[in-house]
């Protein structure tokens, strides 16, 4: 009888103990887990390619794709949502906006929601400025693009008297050799080596960005090894540890040696920009305004970031003080700010055309229209060099790609050459080239390591 009673107590203990164990872990898991599922009604995003630079007679059509869940359905149902919205347009960069409701079309390729800018506004010699407020008509969720709306609208400028550069068909295989290799490192983690990240479902990722000082010193962001590596006079000089996430980041080094790193993610929902002292100590970090970035450059007043979906360059700092996300958005503009205060606007149009304009204020000062019989990929670099503009663009086919370096002057191309893409390892999207002095530098890689090559540009002042 006693044995049976003991057995009962033991079984009860086992059952209750097991239940308590499962409950305890479940409770701990619930506490540790993140928030519950997001409200689908809050999901809204946009795809939009702003027509920054328009040729005479080109139709001013604004197209948007609005991404949000369909009414009353799970986002995974994949039905297009009941979206709508308005575009607010005005001639030039000042004055009152005119409201144009978006029209829904069947053309999702370039944007299902369309607004035709009235001819009277589109033909303004000062172009037109606009912003759009997009809505999920069912839930009321809305999104403004560019994100500051009327405070920093997008600008679309007419191209009068463009210098046409016709490249014809690109001649692959006639590449120029570098004048010097100014940095070189085999893959690895030791000093003087460069980190390489490889995985089964992504290609090799090497140092994701670099920068070059006025004296030719090279700094390479070795994000895999959490450091910035430096080369002086072609020799590895130092490693500076930096606290980075290890993802593909862009980098710019300020004149005083401070290091700005634009990370792919952040603590919040948008990526963050981190500022390091020349010693590598983290000074501060700040989120950027938009969900996505494409490039980071140093402007005359601090770092500027090209952000999407606004497709604007936004200042991140003023006088060593980070700007709030709202202040970044309110400073948005279509081009990158140059040291002389002018602005350089890049617009890759269609499949094989690039338009480059230099602005003074909101007015086009000089403009080039580059056309090609070979498809053109991204504009990797557009930088002033004295009174010229150096452009690096990427012609490509299904099987080939190279970078084409153009020096643009008042009459068109003053000089050009091709360089091997040397892109075995991935970098940040628009971080493969930098201009310092009158030399162009390229961050390249092969299966054995990474390198930085220098190409001296023969440009007379």
């Amino acid at each position: 009888m006693r044995a049976i009673r003991l057995l009962c107590w033991g079984v009860c203990g086992l059952v209750l103990g097991a239940a308590a164990g499962v409950a305890a872990v479940a409770a701990a898991g619930a506490i540790a887990a993140g928030p519950t599922d997001r409200d689908p009604a809050s999901i809204i995003d946009v795809g939009h390619l702003p027509p920054l630079l328009r040729l005479p007679g080109e139709q001013a059509t604004l197209r948007f794709n609005v991404f949000c869940p369909s009414p009353g359905k799970d986002p995974f149902d994949g039905e297009p949502c009941d979206a709508g919205g308005d575009v607010f347009v005005r001639a030039g960069a000042a004055g009152a906006f005119e409201k144009i409701p978006l029209r829904r079309t069947d053309d999702v390729a370039y944007g299902r929601y369309v607004a035709e800018v009235p001819a009277g506004l589109a033909s303004s010699p000062e172009g037109f400025s606009y912003y759009a407020v997009l809505r999920n008509e069912t839930t009321g969720a809305s999104l403004t693009v560019p994100s500051a709306g009327a405070a920093a609208p997008q600008l679309s400028l007419p191209l009068e008297r463009a210098v046409v550069v016709d490249l014809g068909a690109h001649d692959f295989g006639s590449t120029r050799h570098a004048d010097a290799r100014v940095a070189e490192a085999p893959w690895g983690s030791a000093p003087g080596q460069a980190g390489l990240l490889r995985g089964p479902t992504f290609g090799p990722i090497g140092p994701s960005a670099f920068d070059v000082a006025a004296n030719g010193d090279v700094a390479v962001l070795d994000e895999v090894n959490d450091r910035v590596e430096r080369w002086h006079a072609g020799r590895h000089a130092a490693d500076t540890p930096v606290d980075v996430t290890g993802g593909i980041a862009d980098m710019a080094v300020e004149a005083d040696g401070s290091i700005d790193v634009l990370e792919p993610t952040g603590d919040g929902r948008t990526p963050e920009l981190r500022s390091f002292a020349p010693s590598g100590a983290l000074r501060s970090k700040t989120p950027i305004e938009d969900r996505t970035w494409s490039q980071l450059r140093e402007g005359p007043q601090g770092p500027e970031v090209q952000q999407e979906p606004s497709e604007q360059w936004m200042p991140a700092e003023r006088g060593r003080t980070w700007l709030t996300r709202t202040a970044q958005a309110r400073g948005g503009h279509p081009g990158r700010t140059l040291p002389n205060g002018r602005e350089l606007v890049v617009f890759r149009a269609g499949t094989s055309e690039a338009r480059i304009a230099e602005l003074v204020g909101d007015h086009v000062q000089r403009v080039w229209r580059i056309v090609s019989a070979t498809p053109l990929g991204e504009v990797q670099l557009a930088e002033p060099l004295w009174n010229r503009i150096v452009v690096v663009i990427r012609p490509y086919t299904e099987a080939q790609d190279e970078f084409l370096v153009l020096t643009l002057g008042a009459r068109g191309v003053e000089s050009s050459f091709s360089v091997d893409s040397a892109d075995w390892a991935e970098t940040a999207p628009l971080a493969r080239f930098r201009l310092a002095g009158s030399s162009l530098y390229q961050l390249g890689s092969t299966p054995s390591g990474m390198h930085v090559d220098r190409f001296d540009l023969e440009v007379n002042r």
């Binding site: 499962v22 887990a33 995003d45 795809g47 999407e308 890759r348 990929g377 991204e378 490509y396």
Partner: protein
Amino acid sequence: MSLLRPRVVFLAAFLVALSLAAAKAALATFVSANCNYNAPTSSPNMYRDGSVTVALVARYEGYHWGGGCWNDNDVDEGPNEPLQTSSTGGEGGDCSGLTFKVWRESLNTGDGGHYQWGRLRNVHGPYTAADFKAGVGVPNATYPKADAIVMDAFASSTHIGMVYQRGTSGADQIVEAKCEACGTNIFTRTYRSDSSYGGVRRMGWTG
């Protein structure tokens, strides 16, 4: 004799069971605790912009090699997993798993229909990035990169990402499950002009 008192026996049994149960429960992975193996539902339509919304759900939910199950709370509940390990059961898809699910494909490579998989359905699909690049499977075809539009994809021998929007620089915003450190998100990439990548189109869009 005192060890055989009922209360002592109960306590000992309780503690042993508690430890074992807690250890077993604690070893549960995200997949084993949350995901299912439900059959997909067939759907007559498939829209490019609607499919972008499907992809948006996967943002911030992490990356898991060989994976295909995620919730929608914007937290990666299987972070810092070792490379090339699917057995850790973490949250998120990998690049080809995300594409398979967003493109509503079938496990049968000869079936070009549209199949809606739930976000908590753990499925990777039969295709690697290299398969997609080669246009393997009835629903998939190679496609000229210059003509790729929203929800077409660029694939290399190891990676695939879907077009979200082309940018003014000529680079593309791509929605992709990139890597453990990168997660799943929208990133600007230059796959279009990179000759190691080819264009891929999912056939059969409604619009």
